[in-house]
């Protein structure tokens, strides 16, 4: 799928979340694309729910191993240092606090960091997979998502109307418009996309944003 310039910039910015030495789980959709924007050779250990740590790059069908997919169903590869394990071990790693970072998609993000990303009752009911455990137990939880949904509605809301994945779990949100931290005081606007004004972001966000004009970057 081709990316728009705005979405590419969003992914490129979010990729800077991933630091050397981290064990990281990337959710399905835009988060998966982050691997394409990591600094080559960055020593990072990618975890996949179906039982892989140290997952290597995706492979085309011609070179695929039929026994090696990631949790999103893409054929992937091994690296020196890759490990395979069962599903209980995989989630022990998550619940036990060994996952430094997860980057997830979102349907809605509440102003207190609530995350809804697994179901739209009556319309989209696939089941939650490993999402609840990732959102609840990764040491750092960031969301990577377009600012607006397909109907133009803001995904950042004062309170999620959709069923929750986990309560008050999100630390930071990256969108095509802004970078926003969830703090004890509220949602803090940290960065805005090049070409936008603060008012553009405020107009597209249903939640009051805390803004420090002296500490506001662009990306």
């Amino acid at each position: 799928m081709a990316l728009s310039g705005d979405n590419e910039r969003m992914i490129r910015r979010a990729a800077r979340e991933v630091l050397a030495g981290m064990t990281v789980n990337l959710g399905i959709g835009y988060p998966t694309r982050i691997v394409d924007y990591l600094e080559p050779g960055l020593p990072v250990c990618l975890h996949s729910e179906n039982g892989i740590s140290g997952q290597g790059p995706a492979l085309p069908f011609e070179r695929a191993d039929r026994n090696l997919i990631d949790a999103g169903g893409a054929y992937v590869s091994v690296l020196p240092g890759t490990a395979f394990f069962d599903s209980a071990t995989s989630f022990a790693l998550v619940r036990g606090g060994r996952l430094d970072l997860t980057i997830l998609g979102a349907l809605q993000i509440g102003s207190n960091g609530d995350l809804a990303n697994w179901t739209i009752p009556g319309k989209f009911t696939p089941g939650v997979g490993g999402g609840m455990e990732l959102a609840q137990k990764a040491r750092r939880v960031v969301v990577l998502s377009t600012h607006l949904d397909k109907r133009g509605q803001g995904k950042i809301v004062s309170q999620c109307s959709l069923p929750l994945t986990a309560r008050a779990c999100v630390d930071r949100v990256y969108t095509d418009m802004a970078v926003i931290d969830i703090t004890a005081e509220g949602m803090l606007l940290r960065e805005i996309a090049v070409g936008l004004t603060v008012d553009d972001v405020i107009a597209a966000t249903a939640v009051p944003l805390l803004i420090n004009e002296n500490d506001l970057d662009t990306f």
Binding site: S48, E49, N50, G51, I52, F61, A64, D65, R66, N67, L68, I69, D70, A71, G73, Y75, F84, F85, D86, S87, A88, S90, F91, A92, V94, R95, T119, T125, P126, G127, V128, G129, G130, G131, M132, E133, Q136, K137, P163, L164, T165, A166, R167
Partner: protein, 228 residues
């Protein structure tokens, strides 16, 4: 050590109508497609199937769904199978969703002889509905019950006749957990090696958990790379 080699027809005949059946696999890797094909042929009815996912349309346990053999599914995710979602939405099958790692741990618990465990995963969500909660050391937890089956269907890369198993790549997933959690454990293996053919330290599932070993002589196309 005894020889547990069994023909596929005889092995699957151990499944009764109304049975609870665990099926290994996460997507294609680790799904015991040929054991499932034989279960479709024998047509046991009113099954409860426990599996991570519902495979994809016209693959794996979707054949059981299309053949009307499944009353209830216990899964973490069925998003790759719109047919399963349709049956659920039409009320033709009952589906219980479980957070993926909790599903794994419920299965592991049954295999480890534990009746239940406490967790804060899914607290305050839809998946907590109807579940018992309890206070432990000042905090609230959900009580998650162990999940036991009558029969587990497992796919192995290699087995010896005693049922010492090894799995390939990401085909391990739920297979070793299910191999501990059922009254009767049926394994299909791509390679049947002699006793001693698997190095003791390399065994993923020890033979005492396994009841029947079915050797696959030729894999069907279902095991191949899926070009979506």
């Amino acid at each position: 050590m005894i020889d547990k080699s069994t023909g596929i027809e005889e092995a699957i005949s151990r499944i009764a109508d109304g049975a609870i059946v665990m099926v290994g696999g996460f997507g294609v890797p680790g799904t015991p497609f040929m054991l499932i094909d034989e279960l479709v042929r024998q047509n046991q009815q009113r099954l409860t199937v426990i599996k991570n996912d519902a495979n994809e349309p016209h693959m794996g346990i979707d054949h059981l769904l299309r053949n009307g053999q499944v009353a209830r599914l216990i899964v973490s995710h069925i998003g790759l199978n719109p047919h399963a979602i349709k049956l659920m939405n039409e009320g033709r099958i009952e589906v219980e969703f479980c957070a993926q790692g909790i599903l794994a741990e419920r299965i592991r618990s049954a295999g480890a002889g534990l009746p239940a465990f406490l967790t804060d995963i899914a607290m305050d969500t839809q998946l907590a509905r109807g579940k018992q909660t309890t206070e432990f050391e000042g905090r609230q937890y959900l009580v998650e019950k162990a999940l036991k089956a009558d029969v587990a269907l497992v796919h192995a890369h290699a087995s010896d006749p005693f049922g010492n198993l090894i799995y390939a790549g990401s085909a391990r997933n739920f297979n070793p957990l299910m191999a501990m959690a059922a009254g009767t454990v049926i394994v299909e293996t791509e390679n049947l090696l002699p006793l001693g053919g698997i190095s003791a330290g390399a065994v993923h599932t020890p033979g005492p958990f396994v009841d029947h070993v079915v050797q696959l002589h030729e894999l069907t196309g279902a095991y191949g790379v899926v070009r979506r």
